[in-house]
C-alpha cells in the first residue's frame, strides 16, 4: 500500500539523488548491450527501479497512479510496435529484404556505434521493459488498494 505523503524527508532527499543516477545507469546498460553484458532487458529493469523507488519514497495518490496507467500502457505498446517496425524495415529495404535483416552498416568491432540496428533495438527494448515493469508495479498497487477500500 502506498501512502499519499510518502516516507520521511531523509529518505526523500536521498532518493532524489539516487534515482537519476540509477536511471542513467539503466540507459548505459541498454545502449552498451551489444558490447558488454547487459542489454535491453537488464537496462530496462534498472530504469524501472528508478521510477519504482520514486513512487515508493515520495508516495502517491491512488487517483494519480490510475491516471498514469494509460500513459505507461501507451508507451509500452508504442515501443513494442516500433520494434516490430524495425524488424519489418529489414524486410522492406532493398539491401537485406529479410525479416529482422540488419539494414544498417555494421561499423567497427568494439565501437559504440556499430552492430547495425542492434543498439537501436536494445534502446527500444529498454524503454518497453521499463514501461512494463513500472506498469506491473502500478497495476498491482491499484489492485491491492482497490481491495482494501
Amino acid at each position: 500500500m502506498i501512502s499519499p505523503h510518502g516516507m520521511t524527508i531523509i529518505v526523500k532527499k536521498i532518493c532524489q539523488f539516487i534515482a537519476p543516477t540509477i536511471f542513467l545507469f539503466g540507459i548505459y546498460i541498454s545502449v552498451y548491450g551489444h558490447l558488454s553484458p547487459g542489454g535491453g532487458f537488464a537496462g530496462g529493469v534498472i530504469m524501472a527501479s528508478a521510477f519504482i523507488l520514486q513512487i515508493l519514497s515520495d508516495g502517491s495518490l491512488l487517483e494519480k497512479l490510475k491516471s498514469e496507467r494509460w500513459r505507461l500502457e501507451l508507451s509500452e505498446s508504442l515501443s513494442i510496435f516500433s520494434f516490430l517496425i524495425l524488424a519489418v524495415l529489414g524486410l522492406l529495404l532493398a539491401g537485406t529484404a529479410v525479416f529482422f535483416g540488419n539494414f544498417l552498416p555494421p561499423g567497427k568491432l568494439g565501437q559504440l556505434i556499430s552492430g547495425g540496428f542492434i543498439p537501436i533495438g536494445n534502446l527500444i527494448i529498454g524503454i518497453e521493459v521499463c514501461a512494463s515493469m513500472t506498469l506491473i508495479f502500478v497495476a498491482l498497487i491499484i489492485f491491492k488498494d482497490e481491495e482494501s477500500e
Partner: protein, 112 residues
Amino acid sequence: MILFVLCFVLFMIGLYGVILQRNLIKIIIGLAIMEYSVYLFLILIGYVKGGTVPIISDFFENGPFVDPLPQALVLTAIVIGLATKALLLSVAIRLYKHYGTFDIRKMNNLKG
C-alpha cells in the same frame, strides 16, 4: 555432477510447494523455485571449466569461452517467467478480493 543433482533437488522442492501447499502465494513461490532450478540447469549446461566471458574484444583474453547460447535461452525464459508471475500474482490478488483468503481449500466453485 553434484550440481546437477542439487538442481534436481531444487526442482523437487518447488514441485513440493506447488502440489502440497494450500496458500496461493506459496504455490506461486513454489513455481518460481522450479523455474530457477531449470535456469540453473541451463546455465550449467553451457559452463566450460575455466571459461571466460563470451565477448570478442580487446579487453578480454581469448581463452575458452563459456557457451553463450544457454545464457540467451535463460534470459528469454526469465522474461517469460516474469510475465507469468505478474499475471499469477494479479489473479491471486483478485481471488483474495472475492474470497477474503488465500487458502485454496476455501475456493471450491469448480468441481468434477
